[in-house]
Symmetry: C2
Subunit: 242 residues, 2 copies
DNA sequence: TAGTGGTCTAGACCACCGA
DNA sequence: CGGTGGTCTAGACCACTAG
């Protein structure tokens, strides 16, 4: 995975940037990098484009490629680890707190039409419905309801489901969950939210809902997360042209 | 801008997807598209990659390229127009509603240390503080407080500020705002939120705060937006590997 | 004008999927 | 096995920036 040429270059450049090896905030030009690393310019462009998408650098035609000074400050609660991304909880900043899971529900159900479409299911496919309360140091912060096609992981058990499913997949099947399409919103808290997450009636929940995909593109899980509002902080770098 | 080959292809494919011209949720393979559109496969890959980055499609090696069903039911309020992105309001879905602005405050103030850092200001730089209520068809949906260095647009006036600043920049100076770092969160509504946005005490606001950059990378504005919670729906497609 | 990033082509080879 | 997307190369030409 990481032996791909553009990945190596990506990593090398990121390391050098973080190590402060470009004190003038400017990277070498693409043709020089192509020579230095002995790769084609296209591959250099690929690596640089990814860095630009990540907001690490920005490119100015006719001038060069520059480091984005703002890249350093990152206080997002929802973030991504490099490489070994295992499990949703790993996508949340933990600050040394111990993540926990309390299983609320574990059933096999028939998916409704919408879910069927979202997960590309056939007529007679069934899904697990998994409802879990997630905690940091015994403090609940999220109610998560997930739907996973049984045909993808027919061996799922209460035991597996009581810890990280993503971890399990990575460990046992060497399949990583690497993509997700999420909708972020907020709502007033329901009675259940208030009870489970320790909220007052005026305190809201943040909502993140959407589909997680396996590395190969297979839609793997539809998940609906209701977060204690103080735990929902999502950072995003956006480029506003298509 | 839009006469680039990969942009045309991108637009064409997006149109066809939205028009439902791929009822089996599968696009033609890359080599076929390359022939049909008489462009190289690399260009096809480029267009498809962008679609994949946007979460419109996902690709499965060995199988094909498939349409993301969640994209078709895209009801995001915050989204981006192709090409002519002008102004924040243009980034919100309007559905034929007329956007309006009510100016609440327009001052020149001394930035606090944090703001100074976020906008890369020097010690004696001042900023405009612009507080505006934004409406759809006379219905308020967002309280926006923005901070803009006076040195960037010393000619700012109440008149300009009462409509779209981004529009003004584009029109008068041909400078586009194309990038932003935003943090998305939620909070209980304050008394002011409730009064201005017509919320009950149990209804929250969505918060989007961060920096907007000019095309050349100059940090242009720090903005804090408090949205009526029903208007905050943010779609995001994430890849969890670096 | 020289240097930079942007676009595009043509083609090679690899890795994965499903019949 | 044939078909698919993934990676990479080599090189051409364009568009913008700066001195």
């Amino acid at each position: 995975m990481a032996d791909l040429v553009y990945r190596q270059l990506l990593g090398s450049l990121k390391d050098k940037i973080l190590a402060g090896e470009f004190p003038n905030m400017k990277l070498p030009d693409e043709r020089s990098l192509s020579e230095q690393y002995e790769v084609s310019r296209s591959t250099v462009k690929r690596a640089l484009s990814i860095l630009a998408d990540q907001g690490v650098v920005f490119k100015k035609r006719g001038s060069g490629t520059f480091i984005n000074p703002l890249y350093l400050k990152n206080d997002s609660v929802f973030h991504y680890n490099n490489g070994s991304n295992l499990g949703i909880t790993d996508s949340f900043q933990m600050n040394g707190r111990k993540p926990g899971i309390k299983l609320l529900k574990f059933e096999v159900v028939r998916p409704d039409p919408e879910l069927k479409r979202d997960l590309f299911l056939k007529n007679d496919d069934f899904v697990y419905e998994i409802k879990r309360l997630r905690l940091f140091d015994d403090e609940p912060f999220m109610i998560e309801t997930g739907y996973i096609p049984i045909k993808i992981v027919p061996e799922l058990s209460e035991k597996i489901v009581s810890s990280s499913i993503f971890n399990y997949l990575q460990r046992e099947r060497n399949q990583a969950v690497t993509k997700s399409y999420l909708t972020i919103s907020a709502e007033p808290s329901t009675d259940e939210d208030q009870a489970q997450l320790g909220l007052t009636p005026t305190e809201p929940v943040g909502i993140m809902a959407g589909v997680f995909f396996l590395d190969d593109g297979t839609p793997f899980e539809y998940s609906r997360m209701r977060l204690h509002y103080r735990y929902m902080k999502y950072n995003t770098f956006v480029t506003l042209d298509d």
